[in-house]
């Protein structure tokens, strides 16, 4: 594995390797000295062309805990706003000696361009590109599911037979796509639930069950995991649903729907949450919610990914 661009290209063995190394990283994150010398002397560049708090901070914490130096680059206030191309930005970073690049970009495929162009000779980690993929989010979701299900015996286990319902803005969600490919590789079954306007064209060819009715799906599948997606108002450039109240009533996880779930069903959300829209405060703060575990596990997963890509012979 040279780059991490998508979960679609990950084999089951590669995915399990990342999850198992993340188990080791998680024990480091529970220690008093939360630091490993594995990437000492290496430089990680966080190249963020799109706003992000938790992903950037998570990658920054992960790189620092591996003793790498971190350079944060955000497009706002940089030469990009003066019209610099991705190529020139990449070559500038290469000249500064970046050993690994974490990139978030509003254009789907930008990380792949960076990986294949030869502008920079460093491992590329996709931290979210357009509506394409967000592989580390899917990995941390799978890691969170595995830990909740198997606890200390998680190592080496896949997610065979686990049923996951993903609800909300599938159309714009790179998280949904990355989760679909990864969970499917690990043996889980994914159902998508959304208004018909928020299901992408071509989704019928995906290995997922597609439904427009949340209550029926929850009743019929009795899922192990319900993952609520954020309504991405910044990408809502058309009238996908009449109004927020109607969306919350039909597709939101409110307290009444929460009560119909099995007591051990996990409620996941990649954050940031729109409380009262796709998820009620009661659901977000319940014991079934894994939202904060997901954040903590994100650092372990990103440490595992950076370690596996950046240590070893270059």
């Amino acid at each position: 594995m040279r780059h991490l661009l998508s979960t679609k290209q990950l084999s089951r063995d590669e995915a399990l390797q990342i999850l198992d190394v993340a188990e080791d990283m998680a024990t480091v994150n529970e220690r008093e000295v939360k630091k490993l010398p594995a990437l000492r002397g290496k430089t990680v560049v966080n190249l963020f062309f799109e706003d992000s708090t938790r992903t950037r901070i998570s990658f920054e914490a992960a790189a620092k805990r591996l003793s790498a130096d971190v350079i944060n680059f955000s497009a706002k206030g940089s030469s990009v706003s003066k019209g610099e191309s991705l190529k020139d930005t990449a070559q500038t970073l290469a000249a500064m000696g970046a050993d690994g690049v974490v990139i978030r970009h509003h254009a789907s495929g930008a990380p792949q361009v960076l990986a294949e162009s030869g502008w920079i000779d460093a491992p590329i980690v996709n931290a979210g590109d357009g509506t394409h993929e967000h592989p580390t989010q899917a990995l941390l979701d799978a890691f969170t599911i595995r830990r909740r299900l198997f606890g200390d015996t998680s190592r080496g286990r896949n997610l065979k037979g686990v049923s996951v319902v993903i609800v909300g803005d599938i159309l714009h969600s790179r998280v949904a796509r990355s989760n679909l490919w990864l969970l499917e590789t690990l043996g889980a079954h994914v159902s998508f639930v959304a208004p018909a306007t928020l299901i992408p064209f071509g989704a019928s060819t995906w290995p997922a069950t597609i439904s427009y009715d949340l209550d029926t799906t929850l009743r019929e599948t009795q899922p192990d995991v319900v993952m609520m997606l954020r309504i991405q108002s910044e990408r809502m450039n058309a009238a996908f649903f009449p109004n927020a109240r109607e969306y919350a009533r039909i597709w939101g996880l409110d307290d009444a729907r929460l009560a119909t779930l099995r007591p051990d069903t996990m409620v996941m959300h990649p954050g940031p949450m729109n409380r009262g829209l796709e998820i009620s405060a009661g659901a977000a703060d319940s014991a079934r919610s894994t939202v904060l575990e997901q954040v903590a596990n994100g650092v372990s997963i990103r440490m595992a990914v950076l370690y596996l890509l950046m240590s070893g012979q270059s």
């Binding site: 198992d20 008093e32 490993l36 010398p37 594995a38 591996l66 370690y307 070893g312 012979q313």
Partner: protein, 191 residues
């Protein structure tokens, strides 16, 4: 052909002697923590802990653990990426304890150097000792073992294979001359 230098019975005797020596130098099993260095050091550590618990009935129940040093190695950038192994510290931690590190073969000393660094990030033991099944010489760092199963003078182009019943189909320590290719697997079994 690889020459066997320690048989199953030799290994058992060496571990029994090492266990007694550990208890003698520590004056009992009080404050003792045995940490194996993956992969095969972990199995040796478990066997030593079992023997100690048999000799000293009042030895602590959680005595043994594993200490992975992969992330602390000085050759990470020179080799293909290594997958780390689990680190598992006994319930009482290592602070103020007598920690005995256990490995199968002591060679350059670099693994033990890495393990000492890993240990210092976990806590501050009172003393750290080192037990190895085989000391084959050729140290590259000022490190020595306190408890040795067998000293094996070797040349650097020979290979020492440690096979243990927990992971291999046979149990023995053998020595292989240059150019010979045994059934040696690429990971920790061969040095």
């Amino acid at each position: 052909m690889a020459r066997t230098v320690l048989s199953q019975a030799d290994i058992a005797r060496a571990l029994t002697r090492i266990s007694h020596e550990i208890l003698e130098s520590n004056r009992g099993a009080g404050g003792l923590v045995i940490l194996g260095v993956p992969t095969r050091g972990v199995f040796l550590a478990r066997r030593i802990a079992e023997i100690i618990q048999r000799i000293e009935p009042d030895a602590p129940a959680s005595l043994v653990g594993a200490l992975d040093a992969t992330m602390y190695r000085d050759d990470l950038a020179r080799n293909v990426t290594r997958t780390p192994q689990p680190t598992q510290i006994p319930a009482g931690g290592v602070d103020g304890k007598t920690v005995v590190l256990v490995d199968d073969v002591l060679y350059s000393g670099r693994t033990i150097r890495a393990a000492l660094d890993a240990l210092s990030d976990i806590g501050r033991p009172k003393v750290v000792r080192l037990a190895v099944l085989v000391d084959r010489g050729h140290r590259e760092l000022p490190i020595r073992a306190d408890f040795v199963g067998k000293n094996l003078p070797t040349s650097t182009d020979e290979r020492i294979n440690v096979r243990l019943s927990e992971v291999d189909d046979v149990e023995e320590v053998s020595i292989e001359g240059p150019g010979e290719t045994g059934s040696a697997e690429p990971d920790g079994g061969t040095r």
